[in-house]
Symmetry: C2
Subunit: 525 residues, 2 copies
């Protein structure tokens, strides 16, 4: 597979533009060889128009073909995994083991969605049979199900070049739902994106899918993003990235003549509460767990534990010491890009100069993009006075907040904004003793975690990776796990339709054998 | 039950404001006696603060109590049905049989939601059991379900003083989900709203529910609406009404520091397509059906058939004549308010003066609010040239669009905006002959109807009353039927939680006996 730098527009390649850009190797900070052509307005229109036309055909294709397509993408990604791994390492600086793991996760995710739609019950088919004798009014035959929403625009994330990028969770769930996808490649890993895009293309052609169900556009600025968000054929947006980027897309989408939903996952500080019982009995385990969690992926995970709440005690002092010692041993590693490294270094420097913050460990960057962990500390009282301390510092640092009591922790946690995750360490008894705090955590975050750490987002039917604003644009949804498919659907009901004209999912006799709700009863017959 | 005109703020009554307003009897166009106190900013804050506090307690109350509460509201509404009917007739001019029917519908709706939450499976509980031996990574114990979103603000509709108002579909679905509700009473029927509000209050007190799970505020302007939409404790909005009102709320909600979802049902023109086969074989039935549907409720239904597509033929001429004759016999009836009547009359006058439109029947209002049906006609070619003809005229009028062919109908229908409903009359064979047209209808509308008419929105598990923008703000959802509950929920997952600390729905052994998805399998055990 060769990297051409051309935009992928359905089954065609295109480089009409006069501007191009390169990606950078974050290890050397040097530009890579390949040039990527910035998509023009023409190319944007072409991709969206093709997607709109393809949608009509795509949504009528049997689900089994759609499932095969998703599985074939995984096969094609695996088939080029050597080239893909090499390119991803070059563009992201991530170690091989991580890229390979993420490739596995990406392929597993595609297969999970294939299984979901092949099983078929997810469409929530509901049948109300007619009853002409009902009083006061006869009851009509009414059948509803979830149907695909339309072309979806996906913005790849920098920190997961595979699992949240070109063929990542947004793309997989949108294609599974039956929506064509137009991806705006992340400019930090355009080569990786192109290789994956080509794999998707091959899988589409192999399954005789319509031209336009997938496109991939390049841009290292924001123009293409803005035009895609405004385009009349865009019916929803999936995004993983910064708050400013996500909110900008939300504002554009809301201001459209016809507003569209935006599913933006915008990161969070993922509060971790260590109750005294846990601190006293598992001091070392907590220090080990936090050191691992906060430095995983050089701290560049949306679920990285940014704020850690403790209660002042001897064990807590010991925990701080253990943690500092552990972090000292963790070598510097390359951050994803110079931009991220710079932003991290600046925010860290800002925070360490804050008089309310004690620096327990400070790794000062010497010019390259390699960063070792840092560790900051403050008190509950000072945290309450410094509202700026609850902001995310994307990288390997946590702020320890030493409180006078669990009540003070509760008070502070209640003042926090929406989060992707909220974690509590303690005993089972603690959960009932501090039930108000525990209850609040399920109000604060999309995922509440007991006695473990927030990093590691399992891809399953029960995962919720989302949370109240500003963690995500739409706290009702998840961007990971099978429930992510619901984001790209809408409800349709059919009244009085003859059996033959109904979608398979709603036909008499249940030809697909899916779980349905028939006259208020959940049945599989 | 006495009408006091005071705002209902939780279990208290309040009239702090210095301004008040009256409602009008649309039959006489005269002000009614009762004065209603416009809610002040203090009162708005009090209602929202109480709702926020009540939410914490309300979401922990057993579902059985919430179900009893909904059923008790129906009992309390029935207990005051005489006063309620009299007041609703005074304020809306609707006939007794309609008000009684709507009361039945409102109570039935409350009971349907009570049954839904008592059965309990709607929360979509999912359990993934831990598997420490999974490779490459151990699998955590992860359990997800839908939980209530938070305080919901509901704006009652003018055209359904009961079923889409104080205890209507939005309120019933929000309370069922576990969300406190603050209703902004529609100024056309504040007395009706207060009577129903008092019924809700009694039901809440009888079930020892927390103070603040329900409030009712008065205003005959837009200030209270704006402040409610901006309030920090508002987590979602339910609205049924005009496009301008709905869009204004959407814009306010999107511009908030923390944007919130708005579920606005904003009406539509509900295209009805009469294919030649139907026109030839059921001419009279179509004329009868359309005459009934377009004049039901004096045409003041969101699903009223505003645009009717036919193909030029002898039967079509006969149909026009029959329809005109039938409509001539339908007596004038009082519209819901002077404002609605005036707006209808103006829009109708505008359209009849359009040179592209032939007026088959024109009822000109003589100053009161009584209106008899009108009927307009144009051709496909002229309709295409006059983009303003696709707008809603809220009242008893349809625009017949005579086309040269089914292909021309298809072409025009594809240019229409999102609709609540789309209807097609023909044979079963037609649906496959014109499959592209039929497919498009399911893309255009939330509900697709075959061989009947769009008015009459059955309240069931399979109803979809929503549709792509501008029919509703969020085409993914429905405001009628049990699926309306999903609007007021969010996903939460619990990772590694001990069994005792989990919500009942997610506990081992399935104590509630609900349908769940356990390790990918749908089970009730």
């Amino acid at each position: 597979m060769t990297i051409t730098g051309q935009n992928i527009i359905g089954f065609s390649r295109s480089s009409k533009g006069s501007t191009s850009f390169t990606s950078f190797n974050p290890v050397t900070n040097k530009a890579l060889n390949e040039r990527f052509f910035t998509a023009t307005q023409d190319e944007i229109n072409e991709a969206m128009n093709k997607a709109s036309v393809a949608f009509k055909a795509f949504k009528k294709i049997p689900t089994s073909v759609r499932a095969n397509f998703l599985r074939e993408i995984a096969i094609q990604i695996n088939a080029c995994s050597e080239t893909l791994t090499a390119q991803a390492i070059l563009e992201t600086g991530l170690p091989e083991v991580r890229i390979k793991g993420e490739t596995g996760r990406t392929c597993g995710q595609l297969k999970l969605f294939a299984d979901l739609i092949e099983e078929g019950s997810w469409v929530d088919a509901r049948i109300e049979n007619a009853n002409p004798d009902r009083t006061p009014l006869p009851k009509p035959d009414l059948r509803s199900m979830l149907t695909p929403l339309g072309p979806v625009v996906v913005f790849g994330a920098s920190n997961f070049p595979l699992a949240f990028s070109t063929a990542g969770a947004d793309t997989a769930s949108a294609l599974a739902a039956g929506c064509p996808v137009v991806v705006k490649a992340h400019p930090s890993h355009p080569g990786t994106s192109e290789i994956v895009g080509q794999a998707i293309l091959k899988a589409a052609q192999k399954n005789n899918l319509p031209d336009g169900i997938f496109s991939l556009l390049f841009d290292d600025g924001t123009d293409v993003a803005v035009e895609l968000a405004k385009h009349k054929h865009t019916s929803a947006i999936g995004f993983t990235g910064s708050h400013s980027g996500g909110r900008a897309l939300m504002d554009i989408a809301a201001a459209r003549k016809k507003p569209i939903p935006v599913y933006a996952e915008m990161g969070s500080v993922n509060p971790v509460i260590m109750l005294p019982s846990a601190m006293d009995n598992k001091t070392e385990a907590l220090a080990n767990g936090l050191a691992t969690s906060m430095t995983m992926g050089v701290g560049q995970f949306c679920t990285s534990p940014g704020l850690v709440f403790t209660v002042k005690s001897k064990s807590t002092d010991q925990f701080y010491k253990m943690l500092t010692d552990l972090l000292k041993e963790i070598p510097a590693a390359t951050m994803l890009s110079h931009k991220i490294c710079e932003s991290y270094s600046n925010k860290l420097a800002d925070t360490t100069t804050n008089e309310s913050v004690t620096t327990l460990l400070n790794f000062t960057n010497k010019g390259g993009n390699d960063i070792a962990p840092s560790l900051l500390k403050t008190t509950g009282a000072l945290f309450k006075e410094n509202s700026e301390l609850d902001g995310e510092i994307f990288g390997p640092v946590s702020l320890l907040i030493e409180c006078e009591s669990v009540e003070e922790i509760e008070q502070i946690v209640k003042s926090l904004d929406g989060q992707l995750t909220a974690t509590i360490h303690g005993t089972e008894e603690d959960l009932s003793t501090y039930s108000e705090l525990t209850d609040h955590l399920s109000q604060l975050a999309g995922r509440v975690i007991f006695n473990t750490f927030p990093t590691g987002v399992d891809v399953s039917h029960a995962m919720v990776h989302g949370g109240p604003y500003p963690a995500s644009s739409d706290g009702r949804s998840t961007s990971v796990g099978t429930q992510a498919i619901f984001r790209f659907t809408r409800l349709v009901s059919y009244q009085g339709f003859p059996n033959n004209a109904l979608p398979e999912e709603l036909k008499n006799g249940n030809p697909l054998g899916i779980f349905r709700t028939v006259d208020s009863q959940r049945v599989q017959s």
